[in-house]
């Protein structure tokens, strides 16, 4: 019953808001069209864009890492972190995809998710149920219970505001004392090596600036040709998620630096001393060369398709292999984890393709994956 209440409230809160945003800022539609073309260009030459990104990251003083699978990703990140213990994470679905948090915890690290939704599912030890709202399956009442049990200090019948304030209070020290900040990336500019992160809570800004070491873990498909395209992706993603303008857009181009003494550029300044970008393949190159699957890589993770899908709604958010759920997740469960079974549950309701900002014909992609499930 919790799911039904939560998803009903989410739909009523979010779906009209997205339509309002798109009506009020019609230029978003044009940006989405342009972004689709730019992303297709990358997908047609994915390996070459990965190489270009690697060179660009080096040029700005960052350290690029290209990994083929989850195991390699975990190994590389562990090596970068070394003996450091205190880690804060800003929401990254690719970090979940490669099993990073659990891996670091098993290594004895103190790891805290700082996005509120991620923090809640970390407390509950549950997988995310939505690509941008990972705790969408939780009602306010369930979130309240979790936070009270884990952190204490919440009065009975706490409001949404009181729950958020308690988590803010708890995480404040974690940000300040963290030795490592791990994030994902909404977009990566191949020409400059910059990453873009869009958010509303401020946790990503803290995570990317406060610790001396920043590691961004992202899939190859997040690469776009230029920095303007990366900014475009942030704007389009935020708008289609119903949160426009986004409160924060974080642009990171390498480690922090200053040129304030004789204009000589030195690093670090107040932000991180080291910036690492871990680019994860995990089936993405293969998918980019597969005409049946290529379109799926255009997904910008706005999560809009979930709320227009009857299967996602009826399955309590458990359609797909976590962290990938819903219509997009059903495609990505196959691309990343090689599991075609979720696709079989698609009823081709079609709302997903209608509302997708990248115009991905999701039912068509799933139809092709279904065929592979039978073979």
């Amino acid at each position: 019953m919790t799911w039904e209440i939560a998803i009903e409230r989410t739909i009523r809160n979010n779906v009209p808001r997205v339509y309002n945003v798109l009506e009020k800022y019609p230029y978003i539609l044009e940006l989405a069209r342009e972004l689709r073309e730019a992303k297709l260009e990358v997908l047609n030459n994915l390996e070459s864009y990965v190489e270009q990104t690697v060179e660009s990251v080096k040029r700005i003083g960052g350290v690029p890492h290209v990994v083929g699978n989850s195991e390699e990703a975990r190994e590389v990140v562990s090596k970068i972190i070394g003996d450091r213990k205190k880690i804060v994470m800003g929401k990254s679905m690719v970090a979940f995809e490669v099993g990073l948090r659990e891996h670091l915890k098993n290594m004895g690290k103190e790891v805290w998710e700082t996005d509120l939704g991620e923090f809640l599912i970390q407390l509950a030890n549950e997988p995310p149920s939505h690509i941008i709202a990972p705790a969408v399956h939780m009602s306010k009442e369930r979130a309240e219970e979790l936070v009270r049990e884990a952190l204490g200090g919440l009065p009975p019948n706490s409001t949404h505001e009181q729950i958020v304030a308690r988590v803010r209070e708890f995480l404040r020290d974690k940000f300040v004392n963290a030795e490592v900040g791990i994030t994902g990336a909404n977009a990566i500019a191949a020409d400059t090596g910059s990453i873009i992160l869009v958010e509303n809570e401020g946790n990503i800004r803290f995570t990317t600036v406060s610790p001396p070491l920043h590691i961004a873990v992202a899939g190859f498909e997040k690469i776009v040709p230029t920095l303007p395209h990366a900014m475009m992706e942030a704007m389009v993603q935020a708008a289609y998620a119903g949160l426009y303008p986004p409160t924060y857009v974080n642009l990171t181009s390498g480690p922090s630096s200053t040129g304030d003494i004789e204009m000589k550029r030195v690093s670090p300044a107040h932000g991180p001393k080291e910036f690492h970008l871990v680019l994860v393949d995990n089936g993405r190159v293969r998918a980019s060369k597969d005409p049946d699957l290529r379109e799926a890589l255009l997904c910008i993770r706005c999560g809009r398709c979930h709320l227009h899908c009857p299967v996602y709604r009826a399955m309590d958010g458990k359609w797909g292999v976590p962290p990938y759920s819903g219509p997009m997740g059903s495609m990505w469960s196959y691309i990343v984890f090689g599991d075609p079974k979720p696709s079989l549950l698609c009823t081709h309701s079609g709302g997903c393709k209608e509302v997708c900002p990248m115009k991905i014909n999701i039912p068509k992609v799933l139809e092709k994956i279904k065929a592979r499930a039978w073979s």
Binding site: P310, R313, L345, H348, G351, L366
Partner: protein, 292 residues
């Protein structure tokens, strides 16, 4: 999964339908239509047989599959026939469609018991190779019979036939009855509507049937989040063979949403009718029962 596929294949080979079906049930509605011709009505036995599909899917849903049940189904299914009331309703709908076509000067032929299945279920389940093979057979049969144009009466058949050309050479024109008929009856009353996913979001027929409904005088009670083009959702029917519990769960939720708008529901698809009827509190009618 393999047993479901074998079952479908076996049924198609033996009965020319995805389920064991008495073809007389499929063709019994037509009495005076020409046999064949350049323009034919193509029912794919959807309206006629859909009432028994929920019973069949109880056996075949992959959630509770076991080979013994499927093997026994062929003999059982001969006994599983729509009730007289269900057959009468289906036959009335099909005759309404034909009469409406005739009033527009279109006199289609019909293939009676030779009418093949469209292959829709294979396509929608993702059995694409089987669908292509099936489409090849149907295309060849239509070509041999000299058929130039088929008139479909339901969204699943229309979708399957319009996609044949993606899989096999196919140059038969496919039109839907909604594109050809007119709303000639004047109706007073208010309904809400459950759109067909395929008509609405894949086949571009949503505006057409809404135009017909509006012309008939019916007022539709709509809500942006329930009956909008992008916000309305599936009835759950297409997934019944794969996962019946999920299908029922979707149907129940959908019916509850629609019930908030009205206790009178219009549908445009035989699968939607059968899937939603047990969950919707009130009257459910197919558009062809009401406006034709």
């Amino acid at each position: 999964m393999e047993s479901l596929r074998s079952f479908l294949k076996e049924s198609l080979d033996k009965y020319d339908m995805p389920f064991p079906v008495d073809k007389k049930v499929c063709s019994g509605w037509a009495k005076d239509l020409p046999h064949g011709g350049e323009t034919i009505i193509f029912t794919s036995c959807m309206y006629q047989i859909e009432p028994v599909v929920p019973t069949l899917s109880k056996f075949s849903s992959m959630t509770g599959i076991f080979t013994g049940a499927l093997k026994g189904l062929s003999s059982l299914a001969k006994l599983v026939k729509p009730s007289k009331e269900e057959i009468d309703r289906a036959y009335k709908i099909l005759n309404n469609v034909v009469n409406a076509l005739r009033r527009r000067g279109i006199n289609p032929g019909y293939l009676y018991e030779d009418e093949p299945y469209s292959g829709a279920l294979l396509l929608e389940a993702g059995l694409l190779e089987d669908f292509a093979n099936h489409a090849r057979r149907v295309a060849s049969m239509l070509r041999d019979r000299g058929v130039k144009r088929v008139i479909t009466v339901d969204p699943h058949t229309h979708n399957a036939l319009t996609r044949y050309a993606e899989f096999v050479p196919f140059d038969v024109e496919v039109v839907n009855y909604l594109q050809l008929v007119d709303a000639e009856k004047k109706i007073e009353g208010e309904f809400t509507i459950h759109d067909s996913c395929l008509y609405s979001r894949f086949l571009d027929l949503r505006d057409r049937y809404r135009e017909l409904i509006s012309k008939s005088g019916i007022k539709l009670n709509e809500d942006f989040l329930v009956t909008g083009r992008e916000t309305s959702t599936c009835c759950g029917g297409p997934i019944a063979l794969i996962n019946r519990d999920l299908s029922e769960s979707i149907a129940e939720k959908r019916a509850q949403e629609l019930n908030k708008l009205s206790n009178k529901l219009l549908v445009v698809c035989p699968i939607c009718y059968i899937t939603l009827s047990p969950h919707f509190r009130g009257e459910v009618k197919d558009i062809a029962e009401v406006i034709l």
